[in-house]
Symmetry: C5
Subunit: 92 residues, 5 copies
Amino acid sequence: MILAKVVGHVIATQKCDALKGSNLLILNALGDDLTPLKDRTYVAVDCVGAGQDDIVLAEKYLALNKESYKAMSIVAIVEKVYRDVKGSKTHE
Amino acid sequence: MILAKVVGHVIATQKCDALKGSNLLILNALGDDLTPLKDRTYVAVDCVGAGQDDIVLAEKYLALNKESYKAMSIVAIVEKVYRDVKGSKTHE
Amino acid sequence: MILAKVVGHVIATQKCDALKGSNLLILNALGDDLTPLKDRTYVAVDCVGAGQDDIVLAEKYLALNKESYKAMSIVAIVEKVYRDVKGSKTHE
Amino acid sequence: MILAKVVGHVIATQKCDALKGSNLLILNALGDDLTPLKDRTYVAVDCVGAGQDDIVLAEKYLALNKESYKAMSIVAIVEKVYRDVKGSKTHE
Amino acid sequence: MILAKVVGHVIATQKCDALKGSNLLILNALGDDLTPLKDRTYVAVDCVGAGQDDIVLAEKYLALNKESYKAMSIVAIVEKVYRDVKGSKTHE
Protein backbone atom coordinates (compact mmCIF):
# COMPACT_ATOMS: atom_id res chain seq x y z
CA MET A 1 0.00 0.00 0.00
CA ILE A 2 1.12 3.59 -0.45
CA LEU A 3 0.75 6.53 1.92
CA ALA A 4 -1.02 9.34 0.05
CA LYS A 5 -2.88 12.60 0.58
CA VAL A 6 -6.34 13.34 -0.83
CA VAL A 7 -5.81 16.46 -3.00
CA GLY A 8 -9.06 16.56 -4.97
CA HIS A 9 -11.65 14.58 -6.85
CA VAL A 10 -12.85 13.94 -10.41
CA ILE A 11 -16.31 13.96 -11.97
CA ALA A 12 -16.93 11.21 -14.53
CA THR A 13 -20.43 10.34 -15.64
CA GLN A 14 -19.36 7.90 -18.36
CA LYS A 15 -17.69 5.06 -16.47
CA CYS A 16 -17.74 1.27 -16.32
CA ASP A 17 -20.21 -0.51 -14.04
CA ALA A 18 -17.69 -1.36 -11.31
CA LEU A 19 -17.11 2.36 -10.70
CA LYS A 20 -20.79 3.39 -10.66
CA GLY A 21 -21.73 5.04 -7.37
CA SER A 22 -18.09 5.37 -6.28
CA ASN A 23 -16.37 8.52 -5.10
CA LEU A 24 -13.25 9.03 -7.26
CA LEU A 25 -10.63 10.86 -5.22
CA ILE A 26 -7.30 12.26 -6.48
CA LEU A 27 -4.35 11.04 -4.40
CA ASN A 28 -0.79 12.33 -4.30
CA ALA A 29 1.74 9.76 -3.06
CA LEU A 30 3.78 11.00 -0.06
CA GLY A 31 7.54 10.94 0.40
CA ASP A 32 9.55 9.98 3.49
CA ASP A 33 8.76 13.37 5.11
CA LEU A 34 5.02 13.04 4.30
CA THR A 35 5.09 15.78 1.66
CA PRO A 36 3.54 15.15 -1.78
CA LEU A 37 5.90 13.66 -4.40
CA LYS A 38 5.96 15.40 -7.81
CA ASP A 39 3.93 13.76 -10.59
CA ARG A 40 2.86 10.82 -8.44
CA THR A 41 -0.89 11.37 -8.85
CA TYR A 42 -3.46 8.56 -8.81
CA VAL A 43 -7.25 8.33 -8.74
CA ALA A 44 -8.77 5.82 -6.35
CA VAL A 45 -12.17 4.52 -5.36
CA ASP A 46 -13.01 5.56 -1.79
CA CYS A 47 -14.07 2.67 0.47
CA VAL A 48 -13.81 4.33 3.91
CA GLY A 49 -15.29 7.84 3.64
CA ALA A 50 -12.05 9.73 3.10
CA GLY A 51 -12.14 13.48 2.41
CA GLN A 52 -10.03 16.41 1.20
CA ASP A 53 -6.53 16.57 2.82
CA ASP A 54 -6.90 13.23 4.61
CA ILE A 55 -3.77 11.06 4.78
CA VAL A 56 -4.83 7.62 3.54
CA LEU A 57 -3.59 4.16 2.57
CA ALA A 58 -4.28 3.13 -1.04
CA GLU A 59 -3.89 -0.35 -2.47
CA LYS A 60 -2.63 -0.10 -6.04
CA TYR A 61 -3.14 -3.68 -7.03
CA LEU A 62 -5.83 -6.09 -6.08
CA ALA A 63 -8.96 -4.82 -4.38
CA LEU A 64 -9.45 -6.37 -0.99
CA ASN A 65 -12.79 -7.91 -1.79
CA LYS A 66 -12.29 -11.00 -3.90
CA GLU A 67 -15.79 -11.15 -5.29
CA SER A 68 -15.97 -7.75 -6.86
CA TYR A 69 -12.68 -6.51 -8.21
CA LYS A 70 -12.50 -2.75 -7.98
CA ALA A 71 -9.81 -0.49 -9.23
CA MET A 72 -7.17 1.11 -7.00
CA SER A 73 -8.88 1.67 -3.66
CA ILE A 74 -8.48 3.83 -0.56
CA VAL A 75 -8.48 1.22 2.21
CA ALA A 76 -7.77 3.25 5.37
CA ILE A 77 -7.73 6.77 6.80
CA VAL A 78 -4.51 7.33 8.74
CA GLU A 79 -4.67 9.16 12.06
CA LYS A 80 -1.05 8.87 13.13
CA VAL A 81 2.22 8.08 11.40
CA TYR A 82 5.09 6.97 13.68
CA ARG A 83 8.30 6.96 11.69
CA ASP A 84 11.37 6.34 13.85
CA VAL A 85 14.25 6.94 11.46
CA LYS A 86 16.67 9.78 12.45
CA GLY A 87 14.63 10.73 15.51
CA SER A 88 10.94 10.01 16.03
CA LYS A 89 8.49 11.84 13.73
CA THR A 90 4.77 11.86 14.49
CA HIS A 91 2.07 13.19 12.17
CA GLU A 92 -0.95 14.38 14.10
CA MET B 1 -5.96 4.27 -11.59
CA ILE B 2 -4.00 6.85 -13.54
CA LEU B 3 -5.22 10.10 -15.09
CA ALA B 4 -4.26 10.07 -18.77
CA LYS B 5 -5.01 11.77 -22.09
CA VAL B 6 -5.99 9.93 -25.26
CA VAL B 7 -3.26 10.91 -27.79
CA GLY B 8 -3.89 8.38 -30.57
CA HIS B 9 -4.68 4.79 -31.44
CA VAL B 10 -3.01 1.69 -32.87
CA ILE B 11 -4.07 -0.74 -35.59
CA ALA B 12 -3.30 -4.41 -34.86
CA THR B 13 -4.93 -7.15 -36.86
CA GLN B 14 -2.90 -9.98 -35.32
CA LYS B 15 -3.95 -10.01 -31.67
CA CYS B 16 -5.06 -12.45 -29.01
CA ASP B 17 -8.73 -13.31 -28.61
CA ALA B 18 -9.32 -11.15 -25.54
CA LEU B 19 -8.46 -8.03 -27.59
CA LYS B 20 -10.59 -8.92 -30.65
CA GLY B 21 -13.14 -6.21 -31.37
CA SER B 22 -11.53 -3.76 -28.92
CA ASN B 23 -10.50 -0.20 -29.66
CA LEU B 24 -6.81 0.17 -28.70
CA LEU B 25 -6.15 3.76 -27.65
CA ILE B 26 -2.77 5.35 -26.90
CA LEU B 27 -2.70 7.07 -23.50
CA ASN B 28 -0.19 9.49 -22.07
CA ALA B 29 -0.14 9.64 -18.27
CA LEU B 30 -0.70 13.16 -16.90
CA GLY B 31 1.35 15.03 -14.29
CA ASP B 32 0.13 17.13 -11.37
CA ASP B 33 -0.68 20.03 -13.74
CA LEU B 34 -2.55 17.72 -16.16
CA THR B 35 0.12 17.96 -18.86
CA PRO B 36 1.47 14.77 -20.50
CA LEU B 37 4.47 13.19 -18.76
CA LYS B 38 7.45 12.31 -21.01
CA ASP B 39 7.76 8.65 -22.04
CA ARG B 40 4.76 7.53 -19.99
CA THR B 41 2.81 6.05 -22.91
CA TYR B 42 0.43 3.09 -22.57
CA VAL B 43 -2.09 1.37 -24.82
CA ALA B 44 -5.44 0.49 -23.27
CA VAL B 45 -8.66 -1.22 -24.24
CA ASP B 46 -11.52 1.31 -24.39
CA CYS B 47 -14.57 0.29 -22.35
CA VAL B 48 -16.48 3.60 -22.25
CA GLY B 49 -16.33 5.13 -25.75
CA ALA B 50 -13.40 7.47 -25.17
CA GLY B 51 -11.99 9.51 -28.07
CA GLN B 52 -9.01 11.61 -29.14
CA ASP B 53 -7.92 14.21 -26.50
CA ASP B 54 -10.32 12.91 -23.83
CA ILE B 55 -9.01 12.92 -20.25
CA VAL B 56 -9.66 9.41 -18.92
CA LEU B 57 -9.06 7.05 -16.00
CA ALA B 58 -7.14 3.87 -16.85
CA GLU B 59 -6.74 0.85 -14.63
CA LYS B 60 -3.31 -0.67 -15.11
CA TYR B 61 -3.83 -3.84 -13.22
CA LEU B 62 -6.81 -6.10 -12.90
CA ALA B 63 -9.72 -5.56 -15.24
CA LEU B 64 -12.93 -4.72 -13.40
CA ASN B 65 -14.83 -7.74 -14.60
CA LYS B 66 -13.69 -10.86 -12.79
CA GLU B 67 -14.94 -13.32 -15.41
CA SER B 68 -13.14 -11.97 -18.42
CA TYR B 69 -9.73 -10.57 -17.68
CA LYS B 70 -8.86 -7.80 -20.07
CA ALA B 71 -5.64 -5.91 -20.43
CA MET B 72 -5.16 -2.35 -19.17
CA SER B 73 -8.54 -0.67 -19.60
CA ILE B 74 -9.98 2.83 -19.89
CA VAL B 75 -12.67 2.78 -17.19
CA ALA B 76 -14.00 6.36 -17.15
CA ILE B 77 -14.10 9.59 -19.15
CA VAL B 78 -13.31 12.53 -16.86
CA GLU B 79 -15.38 15.72 -17.21
CA LYS B 80 -13.90 17.72 -14.35
CA VAL B 81 -10.78 17.53 -12.24
CA TYR B 82 -10.88 19.42 -8.91
CA ARG B 83 -7.39 19.56 -7.46
CA ASP B 84 -7.16 21.79 -4.38
CA VAL B 85 -3.45 21.95 -3.67
CA LYS B 86 -1.88 25.47 -3.72
CA GLY B 87 -5.11 27.14 -4.77
CA SER B 88 -8.03 25.45 -6.49
CA LYS B 89 -7.46 24.16 -10.06
CA THR B 90 -10.40 23.08 -12.21
CA HIS B 91 -10.10 21.37 -15.62
CA GLU B 92 -13.08 22.07 -17.85
CA MET C 1 -0.25 -2.52 -22.06
CA ILE C 2 3.08 -1.15 -23.21
CA LEU C 3 4.28 -0.45 -26.76
CA ALA C 4 7.55 -2.30 -27.28
CA LYS C 5 9.94 -3.51 -30.01
CA VAL C 6 11.14 -7.09 -30.33
CA VAL C 7 14.96 -6.82 -30.06
CA GLY C 8 15.95 -10.45 -29.56
CA HIS C 9 15.15 -13.73 -27.84
CA VAL C 10 16.45 -15.95 -25.05
CA ILE C 11 17.14 -19.69 -24.88
CA ALA C 12 16.16 -21.36 -21.61
CA THR C 13 15.88 -25.11 -21.35
CA GLN C 14 15.31 -25.18 -17.59
CA LYS C 15 11.98 -23.42 -17.09
CA CYS C 16 8.71 -23.90 -15.26
CA ASP C 17 5.86 -25.80 -16.90
CA ALA C 18 3.80 -22.75 -17.82
CA LEU C 19 6.65 -21.55 -20.09
CA LYS C 20 7.30 -24.91 -21.80
CA GLY C 21 6.90 -24.64 -25.57
CA SER C 22 6.77 -20.84 -25.47
CA ASN C 23 8.87 -18.47 -27.53
CA LEU C 24 10.62 -16.05 -25.11
CA LEU C 25 11.20 -12.74 -26.87
CA ILE C 26 13.22 -9.77 -25.57
CA LEU C 27 11.22 -6.52 -25.67
CA ASN C 28 12.42 -2.96 -25.30
CA ALA C 29 9.70 -0.51 -24.18
CA LEU C 30 9.26 2.43 -26.57
CA GLY C 31 9.16 6.14 -25.74
CA ASP C 32 6.78 8.80 -27.08
CA ASP C 33 8.72 8.94 -30.37
CA LEU C 34 8.70 5.12 -30.72
CA THR C 35 12.43 4.79 -30.02
CA PRO C 36 13.67 2.24 -27.44
CA LEU C 37 13.91 3.53 -23.85
CA LYS C 38 17.21 2.84 -22.03
CA ASP C 39 17.22 -0.09 -19.59
CA ARG C 40 13.54 -0.86 -20.11
CA THR C 41 14.05 -4.47 -21.22
CA TYR C 42 11.54 -7.26 -20.60
CA VAL C 43 11.12 -10.86 -21.70
CA ALA C 44 7.63 -11.94 -22.76
CA VAL C 45 5.84 -15.05 -23.93
CA ASP C 46 4.78 -14.67 -27.57
CA CYS C 47 1.09 -15.41 -28.18
CA VAL C 48 0.65 -13.98 -31.69
CA GLY C 49 3.69 -15.03 -33.77
CA ALA C 50 5.73 -11.84 -33.33
CA GLY C 51 9.26 -11.66 -34.77
CA GLN C 52 12.48 -9.62 -34.68
CA ASP C 53 11.92 -5.82 -34.97
CA ASP C 54 8.11 -6.10 -34.75
CA ILE C 55 6.34 -3.34 -32.79
CA VAL C 56 4.07 -5.14 -30.32
CA LEU C 57 1.72 -4.68 -27.37
CA ALA C 58 2.74 -6.50 -24.18
CA GLU C 59 0.59 -6.98 -21.12
CA LYS C 60 2.75 -6.81 -18.00
CA TYR C 61 0.23 -8.00 -15.51
CA LEU C 62 -2.45 -10.61 -15.80
CA ALA C 63 -2.46 -12.92 -18.78
CA LEU C 64 -5.62 -12.59 -20.82
CA ASN C 65 -6.65 -16.18 -20.41
CA LYS C 66 -8.15 -16.71 -16.98
CA GLU C 67 -7.67 -20.47 -16.88
CA SER C 68 -3.96 -20.66 -17.45
CA TYR C 69 -1.98 -17.79 -16.03
CA LYS C 70 1.05 -17.03 -18.16
CA ALA C 71 3.81 -14.59 -17.51
CA MET C 72 4.09 -11.23 -19.30
CA SER C 73 2.69 -11.81 -22.78
CA ILE C 74 2.87 -10.26 -26.24
CA VAL C 75 -0.82 -9.81 -27.08
CA ALA C 76 -0.76 -7.96 -30.43
CA ILE C 77 1.46 -7.06 -33.38
CA VAL C 78 1.04 -3.38 -34.21
CA GLU C 79 0.80 -2.35 -37.88
CA LYS C 80 0.15 1.35 -37.44
CA VAL C 81 0.56 3.87 -34.63
CA TYR C 82 -1.44 7.09 -34.97
CA ARG C 83 -0.24 9.54 -32.39
CA ASP C 84 -1.74 13.03 -32.81
CA VAL C 85 0.16 15.14 -30.32
CA LYS C 86 2.08 18.14 -31.76
CA GLY C 87 1.19 17.27 -35.36
CA SER C 88 0.19 13.88 -36.63
CA LYS C 89 2.79 11.04 -36.50
CA THR C 90 2.20 7.74 -38.25
CA HIS C 91 4.42 4.65 -37.97
CA GLU C 92 4.28 2.47 -41.06
CA MET D 1 9.43 -9.41 -3.29
CA ILE D 2 11.39 -6.41 -2.05
CA LEU D 3 13.93 -6.21 0.76
CA ALA D 4 12.81 -3.48 3.16
CA LYS D 5 13.37 -2.16 6.68
CA VAL D 6 10.57 -1.56 9.19
CA VAL D 7 10.85 2.17 10.03
CA GLY D 8 7.55 2.77 11.85
CA HIS D 9 3.84 2.10 11.92
CA VAL D 10 0.54 3.85 11.29
CA ILE D 11 -2.67 4.08 13.32
CA ALA D 12 -5.88 3.88 11.28
CA THR D 13 -9.19 3.18 12.95
CA GLN D 14 -11.30 3.75 9.82
CA LYS D 15 -10.24 0.95 7.48
CA CYS D 16 -11.82 -1.68 5.25
CA ASP D 17 -12.68 -5.10 6.64
CA ALA D 18 -9.71 -6.92 5.16
CA LEU D 19 -7.34 -4.74 7.21
CA LYS D 20 -9.22 -5.03 10.52
CA GLY D 21 -7.00 -6.45 13.26
CA SER D 22 -3.84 -6.07 11.16
CA ASN D 23 -0.63 -4.36 12.21
CA LEU D 24 0.21 -1.72 9.56
CA LEU D 25 3.96 -1.25 9.41
CA ILE D 26 5.86 1.42 7.46
CA LEU D 27 8.55 -0.09 5.22
CA ASN D 28 11.44 1.62 3.46
CA ALA D 29 12.75 -0.32 0.43
CA LEU D 30 16.50 -1.07 0.66
CA GLY D 31 19.18 -0.46 -1.98
CA ASP D 32 22.01 -2.75 -3.04
CA ASP D 33 24.00 -1.85 0.09
CA LEU D 34 20.97 -2.44 2.38
CA THR D 35 20.49 1.27 3.15
CA PRO D 36 17.02 2.85 2.82
CA LEU D 37 16.20 4.29 -0.62
CA LYS D 38 14.81 7.85 -0.70
CA ASP D 39 11.04 8.17 -1.09
CA ARG D 40 10.47 4.44 -1.43
CA THR D 41 8.05 4.12 1.51
CA TYR D 42 5.24 1.58 1.68
CA VAL D 43 2.78 0.40 4.32
CA ALA D 44 2.26 -3.36 4.64
CA VAL D 45 0.18 -5.77 6.62
CA ASP D 46 2.39 -7.79 9.01
CA CYS D 47 1.92 -11.56 8.72
CA VAL D 48 4.99 -12.79 10.63
CA GLY D 49 5.37 -10.66 13.77
CA ALA D 50 7.91 -8.18 12.38
CA GLY D 51 9.02 -5.21 14.52
CA GLN D 52 10.84 -1.89 14.39
CA ASP D 53 14.18 -2.01 12.46
CA ASP D 54 13.65 -5.59 11.26
CA ILE D 55 14.83 -6.36 7.70
CA VAL D 56 11.87 -8.04 5.98
CA LEU D 57 10.55 -9.35 2.67
CA ALA D 58 7.36 -7.70 1.40
CA GLU D 59 5.21 -8.91 -1.44
CA LYS D 60 3.80 -5.94 -3.33
CA TYR D 61 1.34 -7.75 -5.48
CA LEU D 62 -0.85 -10.70 -4.75
CA ALA D 63 -1.29 -11.90 -1.20
CA LEU D 64 -0.05 -15.45 -0.72
CA ASN D 65 -3.42 -16.80 0.34
CA LYS D 66 -5.76 -17.13 -2.63
CA GLU D 67 -8.94 -17.17 -0.59
CA SER D 68 -8.52 -13.92 1.26
CA TYR D 69 -6.76 -11.24 -0.73
CA LYS D 70 -4.83 -8.94 1.54
CA ALA D 71 -2.97 -5.80 0.66
CA MET D 72 0.84 -5.61 0.41
CA SER D 73 2.13 -8.02 3.03
CA ILE D 74 5.31 -8.64 5.04
CA VAL D 75 5.96 -12.33 4.32
CA ALA D 76 9.31 -13.01 6.04
CA ILE D 77 11.75 -11.64 8.61
CA VAL D 78 15.29 -11.80 7.21
CA GLU D 79 18.11 -12.96 9.50
CA LYS D 80 20.98 -12.97 7.02
CA VAL D 81 21.62 -11.44 3.61
CA TYR D 82 24.41 -13.04 1.56
CA ARG D 83 25.16 -10.82 -1.40
CA ASP D 84 28.25 -11.95 -3.36
CA VAL D 85 28.77 -9.16 -5.85
CA LYS D 86 32.20 -7.39 -5.64
CA GLY D 87 33.32 -9.38 -2.62
CA SER D 88 31.03 -11.14 -0.15
CA LYS D 89 28.74 -8.97 2.03
CA THR D 90 26.89 -10.47 5.00
CA HIS D 91 24.23 -8.70 7.07
CA GLU D 92 24.13 -9.96 10.65
CA MET E 1 9.27 -10.98 -16.91
CA ILE E 2 12.58 -9.34 -16.11
CA LEU E 3 16.10 -10.53 -16.96
CA ALA E 4 18.09 -10.68 -13.73
CA LYS E 5 21.27 -12.12 -12.21
CA VAL E 6 21.36 -14.20 -9.03
CA VAL E 7 23.67 -12.22 -6.69
CA GLY E 8 23.01 -13.92 -3.36
CA HIS E 9 20.41 -15.38 -1.04
CA VAL E 10 18.65 -14.61 2.23
CA ILE E 11 18.02 -16.70 5.34
CA ALA E 12 14.57 -16.24 6.91
CA THR E 13 13.23 -18.71 9.43
CA GLN E 14 10.12 -16.69 10.31
CA LYS E 15 8.09 -16.64 7.09
CA CYS E 16 4.55 -17.24 5.92
CA ASP E 17 3.43 -20.72 4.90
CA ALA E 18 3.59 -20.14 1.16
CA LEU E 19 7.35 -19.51 1.43
CA LYS E 20 8.14 -22.52 3.65
CA GLY E 21 10.68 -24.80 2.03
CA SER E 22 11.51 -22.26 -0.68
CA ASN E 23 14.96 -21.03 -1.65
CA LEU E 24 14.94 -17.21 -1.46
CA LEU E 25 17.44 -15.82 -3.96
CA ILE E 26 18.54 -12.19 -4.33
CA LEU E 27 18.17 -10.93 -7.92
CA ASN E 28 19.59 -7.83 -9.53
CA ALA E 29 17.66 -6.68 -12.62
CA LEU E 30 19.88 -6.36 -15.72
CA GLY E 31 20.14 -3.44 -18.13
CA ASP E 32 20.29 -3.48 -21.93
CA ASP E 33 23.96 -4.57 -21.83
CA LEU E 34 23.23 -7.34 -19.27
CA THR E 35 25.01 -5.54 -16.42
CA PRO E 36 23.27 -5.13 -13.03
CA LEU E 37 21.15 -1.97 -12.65
CA LYS E 38 21.76 0.09 -9.49
CA ASP E 39 19.23 -0.38 -6.67
CA ARG E 40 17.06 -2.78 -8.64
CA THR E 41 17.27 -5.65 -6.14
CA TYR E 42 14.50 -8.20 -5.60
CA VAL E 43 14.11 -11.45 -3.70
CA ALA E 44 12.38 -14.30 -5.51
CA VAL E 45 11.29 -17.86 -4.84
CA ASP E 46 13.36 -20.28 -6.93
CA CYS E 47 11.27 -22.74 -8.98
CA VAL E 48 13.91 -24.11 -11.36
CA GLY E 49 17.08 -24.78 -9.34
CA ALA E 50 18.88 -21.51 -10.12
CA GLY E 51 22.23 -20.76 -8.45
CA GLN E 52 24.73 -17.97 -7.78
CA ASP E 53 25.57 -15.85 -10.89
CA ASP E 54 22.91 -17.53 -13.07
CA ILE E 55 21.06 -15.25 -15.52
CA VAL E 56 17.35 -15.93 -14.93
CA LEU E 57 13.83 -14.83 -15.82
CA ALA E 58 11.70 -13.65 -12.89
CA GLU E 59 7.97 -13.04 -12.96
CA LYS E 60 7.11 -10.10 -10.71
CA TYR E 61 3.40 -10.42 -10.72
CA LEU E 62 1.22 -13.47 -10.71
CA ALA E 63 2.78 -16.85 -10.06
CA LEU E 64 2.34 -19.23 -12.99
CA ASN E 65 0.40 -21.79 -11.03
CA LYS E 66 -3.16 -20.60 -10.54
CA GLU E 67 -3.92 -22.84 -7.58
CA SER E 68 -1.12 -21.83 -5.26
CA TYR E 69 -0.15 -18.19 -5.54
CA LYS E 70 3.49 -17.72 -4.73
CA ALA E 71 5.43 -14.49 -4.46
CA MET E 72 7.79 -13.23 -7.18
CA SER E 73 9.27 -16.34 -8.77
CA ILE E 74 12.30 -17.35 -10.83
CA VAL E 75 10.68 -19.14 -13.76
CA ALA E 76 13.63 -19.93 -16.08
CA ILE E 77 17.42 -20.19 -16.21
CA VAL E 78 18.71 -18.43 -19.33
CA GLU E 79 21.50 -20.09 -21.37
CA LYS E 80 21.71 -17.62 -24.24
CA VAL E 81 20.59 -14.05 -24.84
CA TYR E 82 20.37 -12.96 -28.50
CA ARG E 83 19.89 -9.23 -28.63
CA ASP E 84 20.09 -7.82 -32.17
CA VAL E 85 20.07 -4.09 -31.67
CA LYS E 86 23.14 -2.18 -33.01
CA GLY E 87 24.91 -5.38 -34.07
CA SER E 88 24.28 -8.82 -32.66
CA LYS E 89 25.17 -9.50 -29.00
CA THR E 90 25.27 -13.04 -27.62
CA HIS E 91 25.65 -13.98 -23.94
CA GLU E 92 27.28 -17.37 -23.46
